[in-house]
């Protein structure tokens, strides 16, 4: 009976130990979802921040307020909105996105975009006007000016991306709703992230196991931050 071959794996569910590949697979899913979402957010946010920062237009203050408000979106609400969108009854229902990593990326994209935009905007606004003027005087196009500003604001933008990543990888509300916290029967994650795994353990009262996963999550965030800072120092500045 194949059932019996899975029985030795059960102590893992009791928090004694983890099944083979379980933690590794949820780390991979966490990173895949959050890094994809942050990459997409960055592609949208940084150009948006530069465009808003370098132009003057009526209602600019209002746009800033909206972006700043977005930083406070409750992830559960974002999850519900994305759920309604990707549900089979929703406008994106034909794409079969419910309970997939793609849906999770969508919700984390919504969550990560406001902080990346807002912090990038602050960084861009903080660039000395003289730098911009110099670039223009030297005959730079609008693109050239923008690139110069981005280069000047790179540390602030890196901070923005890391803040967006922190928001994405640490949130539990939306990925739980749209992802469904699914693993295969053998314990390989499909849509389970570290945060939803922690939530699952806490639901079962396995607080020690939840703490172990929490430590893994913090270590992961620390590693990503260290890599980005190091990469930023060498790659962008050099």
């Amino acid at each position: 009976m194949p059932v019996e071959s899975t029985v030795p794996l059960i102590p893992a569910l009791l928090g004694v130990s983890f099944r083979d590949g379980y933690v590794g697979s949820i780390v991979v899913v966490s990173l895949y979802v959050s890094l994809s979402a942050v990459a997409l957010s960055t592609l949208v946010s940084v150009p948006a921040a530069v465009a808003i920062g370098l132009t003057e237009f009526p209602g600019k203050g209002f746009v800033k307020s909206v972006v700043n408000t977005g930083m406070g979106f409750p992830s559960v609400v974002v999850g519900l909105v994305v759920l309604f969108a990707v549900s089979n009854q929703g406008p994106l229902g034909t794409f079969d996105l419910i309970f997939t990593r793609e849906a999770m990326i969508m919700s984390q994209f919504v969550l990560a975009t406001p902080p990346i935009t807002a912090i990038s905007l602050a960084a861009v606004s903080g660039v000395d006007d003289g730098v911009r003027d110099a670039a223009r005087v030297l005959g730079g196009t609008r693109i050239d000016v923008a690139l110069v500003v981005i280069k000047e604001a790179r540390y602030g933008i890196a901070t923005a991306v890391l803040a967006g990543f922190g928001r994405a990888i640490s949130e539990v509300g939306s990925v739980l709703i749209v992802g469904g916290n699914i693993t295969s029967a053998s314990g390989i994650s499909k849509t389970r992230t570290l945060t939803t795994a922690i939530q699952l353990e806490a639901r079962q009262g396995q607080y020690e196991t939840a703490m172990v996963l929490g430590v893994v999550l913090v270590a992961l965030v620390l590693t990503v931050n260290a890599v980005v800072v190091r990469f930023g120092d060498r790659g962008v500045a050099g």
Partner: protein, 316 residues
């Protein structure tokens, strides 16, 4: 995903052919069914079944233990989403799952009456127990009536932790209060909005009473100080604490994208003697958590329809 999309395209194609061929009687639904059963001889292989279920079947590890067998037999993937009975049914109602496994007969019946669920089967049962601190401030230990025990807790105003989450256990608890003729409220009654494991921990920390399914309590007993004060029917307690689980398919007539073929394969598989036996052999900490109920010599027509349902034209 990919295969589902192909099926969707195939369904569109089948629908287009059917309509051009002048089969005027049916439209969309016909195309969906046709592509599901016809075509490739492999049938359901490679597809994904989305099962929404309650936390108790998932958190006890039962589903992971038995699903490997189903996946290998059919070459499919089961995505089990543990949500609690209310949310599991709501997800299915939105067409986002193919099969549901829950434990609140009243909610299941409503789901069927509204046309969302079909081919319901009794699956298995265990029971609820009323647990509380060893000191038992309300003095309910060994009571043979669950409603008397709740009344005693209410009169003593002893702290009671309620799931408060529209789960099967919460539904049972509300039914019990109603049967006891007591409206719970006040500082002693705490709705937590959490899963069973968390609710047990909260009750443990506060020295409170709570209603738990036996399975979750057993799987957590070694870590908490609560004890069973009123037994369920498995240990000779009152029948009102019975906890039956049902399984049913999402109606493809309402949600044509539901994977009905695979849902029915799943229901057939999980109600088969071999898997029912595997359910009864599943142990946590050496204890049996679920008792199979699908295999019986005697017919039980009530499992297929809402409780108490009868066809008026049929009783002549």
């Amino acid at each position: 995903m990919l295969i589902q999309r192909r099926r969707f395209v195939a369904a569109l194609g089948a629908g287009a052919i059917a309509s051009t061929a002048g089969c005027s009687s049916t439209d969309g639904g016909d195309g969906g069914n046709g592509s599901g059963s016809g075509g490739e001889s492999i049938g359901v292989a490679g597809e994904t079944l989305t099962l929404t279920t309650t936390t108790s079947t998932y958190d006890t590890g039962l589903l992971d233990a038995i699903h490997t067998d189903f996946q290998e037999m059919y070459g499919v993937t089961v995505d089990a989403v543990a949500q609690g009975t209310g949310a599991a049914l709501e997800t299915a109602r939105n067409g986002d799952s193919d099969v549901v496994m829950v434990h609140a007969r009243g909610l299941e019946d409503e789901f069927m009456r509204n046309g969302y669920g079909i081919n319901r089967r009794d699956l298995m049962f265990n029971d609820f127990v009323i647990v509380g601190p060893e000191s038992d401030p309300a003095g309910i230990r060994g009571m043979s009536s669950a409603t008397d025990a709740l009344t005693a807790i209410a009169e003593a105003q002893a702290t009671f932790v309620s799931r408060g989450d529209n789960s099967g256990t919460h539904t049972k608890e509300l039914n019990l209060w109603e049967a006891a003729g007591t409206e719970p409220g006040g500082d002693w009654y705490q709705e937590t909005g959490t899963g069973m494991g968390e609710a047990l921990n909260i009750a443990n920390q506060q020295g409170a009473y709570t209603l738990s399914d036996r399975g979750t309590f057993i799987s957590q007993r070694s870590e908490i100080d609560l004890t069973i004060l009123v037994q369920g029917p498995i240990e000779g307690g009152p029948e009102i604490l019975a906890n039956p689980y049902g399984v049913m398919a999402v109606n493809p007539g309402v949600h044509e994208n539901a994977n009905y073929d695979l849902a029915m394969a799943y229901i057939g598989w999980i109600t088969s003697p071999a898997v029912q036996n595997a359910i009864s052999e599943y142990r946590v900490n050496g204890e049996q958590l679920f008792f199979p109920r699908a295999v019986s010599e005697d017919p039980d027509f009530q499992q297929y329809v809402p409780e108490g349902w009868s066809s008026e034209g049929d009783d002549a």
